[in-house]
């Protein structure tokens, strides 16, 4: 085993906490605070809402104006100004600003300055994605056709067949192969299942037919 590869020569990042407290970055022997203004990208384009299942996605990383004399960062058109050490709160502030203006837009209570700011913000945000993520769930019925280690195949009531993967797939664990079910489902912009809740097991199609059930599963 050797370490001749160049990447092994790179320094390993600091991992301890205590040492960092003792070693703040030194800029140099300045007298007074030097005044510099820079435009710096904020290293995140996705702003989480809640537990990450809903987000505000920007088309690109937002640009912050870093003012060394005031020790602040400022984001426009979000109208956010924070102290440099609070820059970690930017995702929260962006989310708050967006939700506040969105609510006002829904209620048609935006002031004129807010309208122009909202228009500028909408140019930076994937609003379609936001609307899809915030759409309410729909009541649907489906038939669990097959289950493999990779995906669970569902035939939905509109006749489409989907391989459900990821987190929504685990919600279907209670349903057996060949069983019909109902659920509240949220679909993404490509009409793929993004969330499943309130699953009810309807049973197998044969027994449903015997009981005179008139749900879609008998009419297909």
């Amino acid at each position: 085993m050797n370490f001749a590869h160049p990447q092994d020569a790179q320094p390993t990042p600091e991992v301890t906490i205590t040492e960092q407290r003792d070693a703040p970055v030194q800029m140099g022997p300045f007298t007074g605070r030097p005044s510099f203004i820079f435009d710096v990208p904020f290293p995140q384009a996705v702003m989480p809402l809640g537990e990450g299942d809903k987000t505000i996605r920007l088309w690109s990383q937002p640009t912050m104006r870093y003012d060394s004399a005031r020790a602040t960062v400022e984001l426009q058109p979000w109208n956010i100004r924070l102290r440099m050490e609070e820059a970690g709160n930017i995702p929260r502030e962006i989310a708050r600003t967006f939700l506040t203006l969105w609510t006002k837009a829904e209620r048609q209570t935006l002031s004129d300055p807010e309208k122009s700011r909202w228009a500028e913000i909408l140019e930076q945000v994937d609003f379609q994605q936001f609307c899809v993520e915030h759409a309410p769930t729909r009541y649907v019925q489906g038939l669990l056709k097959t289950r493999t280690s990779a995906a669970t195949t569902v035939l939905w009531q509109d006749g489409t067949e989907e391989n459900v993967t990821g987190a929504p797939r685990t919600a279907l664990d209670l349903v057996n192969e060949g069983e019909a079910f109902s659920a509240h489902v949220r679909f993404d912009r490509r009409a793929r299942t993004a969330e499943i809740a309130n699953i009810a097991i309807l049973g197998d199609p044969v027994s449903l037919q015997a009981s005179g059930d008139d749900s879609w599963i008998q009419k297909r």
């Binding site: 085993m1 050797n2 370490f3 590869h5 990447q7 092994d8 390993t12 990042p13 991992v15 301890t16 906490i17 205590t18 040492e19 003792d22 070693a23 703040p24 970055v25 800029m27 510099f36 820079f38 710096v40 990208p41 904020f42 290293p43 995140q44 384009a45 996705v46 702003m47 989480p48 809640g50 537990e51 990450g52 299942d53 987000t55 996605r57 912050m64 870093y66 440099m84 050490e85 609070e86 820059a87 970690g88 709160n89 995702p91």
Partner: protein, 275 residues
């Protein structure tokens, strides 16, 4: 070489243990979303969330002249989750990055946490982390022990000098014990900073790094010992169980290194060797 006894029986000046697990980088957007889910998963145990901004400023130079017009500061965020402990002390932390995760335990109220404690914490959370962030394999493992020599932790090595209090490094650390630049004996004064790295190709390949760093204020130094297993392409991918086994090997090697870095006098004063 004298071998130190198990650290739990002595009082080494250990102030922090940090275990680091590298993995293949997660795309930034995916990392943001998965981090929020992870926070929700661990909130009962690690409710105190810190997002620490870290600024990097590079000033390019041309022919030795700094070009301030080309300065581009960069911001990165360090996501740190603290465990709630008795007395609301910040003692246990998990730090998440798009290509690594660290588990830290910091000494508080003079309470020294054992490696076994850190290991069981990692054993409990690493598989959950792996699932939440969809990390299939880890690529390398580091373990770092940070020791501090100062008036609070090692008063036995403090000494008054004409320039104020200093640390008697020659008595504490072997690396300083044979320094004699002139015939007349002198005092070693700050700065003490130095680094050395040793490479191993034996049954546990990797690098052992020793870093000694002076504190910003007061007569104090930190003595860091870190063992890092090789990174790809020299390493195999590790599942959680294998990564923990590697961590055990790192711990054993760090104990050995500790007893070789500190002098016999120091080890005795820490209660790790019989007087």
């Amino acid at each position: 070489m004298p071998k130190a006894a198990a650290t739990k029986t002595g009082k080494p000046p250990l102030i922090e243990r940090a275990a680091l697990f590298h993995f293949h980088p997660i795309a930034p957007d995916d990392f943001t979303v998965r981090l929020e889910r992870w926070k929700a998963m661990v909130v009962e145990s690690y409710p105190d969330v810190e997002t620490v901004p870290e600024w990097t400023v590079n000033v390019p130079t041309t022919n030795g002249i700094p070009d301030f017009t080309a300065v581009q500061p960069q911001l990165s965020l360090r996501h740190r989750l603290w465990k709630k402990t008795d007395g609301n002390q910040k003692t246990w932390a998990i730090q998440c990055f798009p290509e690594r995760v660290t588990f830290n335990v910091v000494r508080k109220n003079n309470e020294l946490h054992s490696y076994a404690g850190l290991r069981s914490e990692i054993e409990a959370w690493l598989p959950a982390f792996s699932e939440a962030f969809q990390v299939r394999h880890f690529t390398s493992v580091n373990l770092e022990y940070l020791n501090r020599l100062d008036a609070a932790h090692t008063p036995q090595f403090m000494e008054d000098s004409p320039t104020g209090k200093i640390i008697r490094l020659a008595q504490a650390l072997k690396i300083f014990s044979n320094i004699r630049l002139n015939k007349a004996p002198g005092l070693i004064v700050p700065p003490y900073d130095c680094k050395v790295t040793e490479q191993y190709t034996g049954p546990v390949p990797g690098q052992m790094a020793l870093a000694i760093k002076g504190a910003q204020s007061g007569p104090a130094i930190t003595v860091s010992l870190r063992f890092s297993t090789p990174k790809p392409p020299h390493a195999k991918e590790l599942d959680c169980a294998t990564a923990l086994e590697r961590l055990d090997s790192c711990h054993a090697l760090l104990l050995e290194a500790f007893s070789n870095v500190f002098t016999e006098t120091a080890l005795k004063s820490f209660g790790l060797l019989q007087s």
